[in-house]
């Protein structure tokens, strides 16, 4: 411990040049201000009436009011938006984790000549951008009558989560010793039994990582719902929020209230699961 402190003091004194230090502090402070100030401005603007916003754009509100919130909630139909976002996020996350663990188990523990090809096809998908496929996906949804249905949104969400899911699950299950599976086989257990009662309970860490990656990916996803759904009843938060506070919005107070409502859940999620999220993000950044 003593040496560590000694080394650290030496770094500060001899190597970290004052000019460099000023530069680094300036940079982190700029980033901090640029993050906190817009959020602060967003919040205080949501407490103003439209008339006040025109006169007092950046100052503290004269008569802070929370009235914009219920109005924005009702007009933008936040009940429906939240329900849909929760549904798509939860359903796709459960399915991605289940399918990835199943296939990952097969790839890692059952010998087959098909594995290199199948597993490889998923690894390529890590780099494929769904954005580049929006038009074919739309055309497919229309011609299979899945346009404007829950299933039509859910299937792409699951497919989109599979590549990284398969990659992480296969790696993880590979690290479980083969002898665990082999001894269960000798005892006469079927592969499904081994999966359900031995492997699945051991995979909690990778399941948590996947859940974090998938929840933040799907909750914020905009493009797919935007092109695959036109009915109000199926919209999710990002799509509903853009529709309500988009370029045509004329009431700034309400617009900012809607943006704040959209922002809060993810910020809370982040502050609560900060450690797991940072771990998940770095685990998800695998080589293609």
């Amino acid at each position: 411990m003593k040496t560590a402190t000694a080394t650290r003091t030496r770094i500060r004194k001899t190597d970290f040049h004052p000019v460099l230090r000023v530069f680094v502090y300036t940079m982190v402070l700029i980033f901090t201000v640029l993050t906190l100030y817009p959020l602060y401005w967003l919040f205080i603007s949501s407490l103003k009436t439209n008339t006040e916003f025109q006169l007092n754009m950046t100052g503290w509100p004269w008569n802070p009011t929370l009235n914009n919130y219920p109005t924005a909630w009702r007009l933008a139909q936040f009940d429906t938006l939240f329900l849909n976002s929760v549904f798509f996020t939860v359903a796709s996350t459960i399915l991605v984790i289940l399918f990835s663990l199943m296939a990952g188990f097969a790839f890692a523990k059952i010998r087959s000549k098909a594995t290199p090809f199948l597993h490889g096809s998923f690894v390529i998908g890590i780099l494929l951008t769904l954005q580049s496929l929006m038009v074919p996906l739309f055309l497919m949804a229309v011609s299979t009558n899945l346009y404007n249905t829950r299933l039509g949104v859910l299937i792409p969400y699951v497919g989109m989560g599979m590549p990284i899911g398969i990659y992480l699950c296969t790696e993880f299950i590979r690290s479980i010793p083969d002898s665990v599976v082999e001894s269960a086989r000798i005892d006469g257990a079927s592969y499904f039994r081994i999966f359900a009662s031995i492997i699945a309970p051991m995979t909690k860490p990778v399941a948590v990582t996947l859940a974090i990656l998938n929840v933040s990916g799907v909750w914020n996803e905009f493009m797919l719902v935007n092109i695959l759904v036109s009915s109000d009843a199926l919209r999710t938060l990002p799509v509903g929020i853009l529709k309500f506070s988009g370029p045509l919005a004329s009431d700034h107070g309400r617009q900012f209230a809607a943006l704040t409502i959209g922002l809060v859940p993810m910020v809370i999620f982040y502050l609560v699961f900060r450690k797991q999220i940072t771990k998940g993000v770095s685990a998800g950044a695998v080589k293609g």
């Binding site: 940079m27 296939a103 059952i110 905009f222 982040y270 993000v281």
Partner: protein, 303 residues
């Protein structure tokens, strides 16, 4: 029949059933559309029934030629290039700098700064886009800020075709630098601290620690970060859509938005949109292969 039954072991059955759901869903939404759009891009299909439609004709590469002759294609491609440049030369170096000073504890409150710098990544791009659009708009704080220095300054960011992309690039830099910081930080933590300790005791300077130990150990991660930046820049759609929708006069469009406008705005042109889709898939593969080749030639110092 007997041989077939012998082949159809419990092992094979289990493998198939375990793999099937994932493979089916994934192939249906990622592999199939790639082939599907390649096919449709060479036909005149523009809506209606796809399968068994007698009016669909093969037209070859006509739509690709049209795409290459469209000025909006080049404007969009250029903007994707700018986003890629800001990612590779802005986000990655800054992300590395932040990760390094936080990891080596060269600044105070590293944990706090880390939390704040990563925060934008978790917010929905739509909310971020709308917020910054308002921020940079004539009624936002940016205008006010500029006017305190230059009274009478007029905010033309939303109208000037030359400058309109700047706020977008700025927001992209602001938003995703944290992502690279987190990735570098996680990999810096994997480097054995005793190695650095030993180097320090032997009299190595901080600069030598950085260039001789840290950077070589991270060369693989830097390549990964570049690949992420490249595929990430081709993904950019939501943010531009929410901030500018490509305007003014489609000057801030990107490839994904160009495809979106082609397919869903005014009269749809699906064959052209499919050509753009194929071009984007090809481009991302080519760029990634290029990064890999560069790595194989100049990298290779990774253990």
């Amino acid at each position: 029949m007997k041989r077939l039954l012998a082949w159809w072991t419990e092992e094979r059955r289990a493998y198939l059933l375990l793999v099937l759901p994932g493979v089916l869903v994934y192939w249906a939404v990622m592999a199939f559309p790639t082939v599907f759009s390649l096919g449709l891009s060479m036909t005149n299909y523009n809506g209606g029934v796809i399968f068994g439609n007698p009016n669909i004709q093969f037209v070859g590469l006509r739509h690709y030629l049209r795409m290459f002759n469209d000025r909006y294609f080049w404007i969009s491609l250029k903007n994707n290039g700018l986003i890629m440049a800001i990612s590779v030369f802005g986000q990655i170096p800054l992300g590395f700098l932040f990760a390094y000073v936080i990891h080596r504890k060269l600044i105070k409150f590293g944990d706090f700064f880390q939390t704040i710098i990563y925060l934008p990544c978790v917010i929905s791009t739509i909310v971020v886009g709308r917020l910054w659009q308002s921020f940079f708009s004539p009624y936002g704080p940016f205008t006010k800020f500029m006017q305190t220095f230059q009274p009478g300054w007029e905010n033309e960011l939303a109208y000037d075709p030359q400058k309109a992309i700047l706020p977008v690039l700025f927001v992209i830099l602001w938003m995703y630098t944290g992502q690279y910081m987190i990735i570098f930080l996680a990999n810096l933590q994997k480097i054995d601290p005793s190695l650095i300790e030993a180097a320090r005791i032997d009299g190595a300077s901080e600069w030598q620690v950085l260039t001789r130990i840290m950077l070589p150990a991270l060369s693989g991660v830097i390549v990964t970060a570049c690949i992420l930046a490249i595929s990430g820049s081709l993904k950019s759609f939501d943010l531009v859509y929410a901030m500018t929708a490509g305007n003014p006069a489609r000057r801030t469009s990107v490839l994904a938005l160009y495809m979106y406008d082609t397919a869903f705005k005014h009269s749809p042109n699906y064959p052209l949109a499919n050509s753009i889709s194929v071009f984007m898939v090809l481009l991302s593969f080519i760029l990634i292969v290029l990064v890999r080749i560069t790595e194989a030639r100049f990298g290779g110092r990774e253990e």
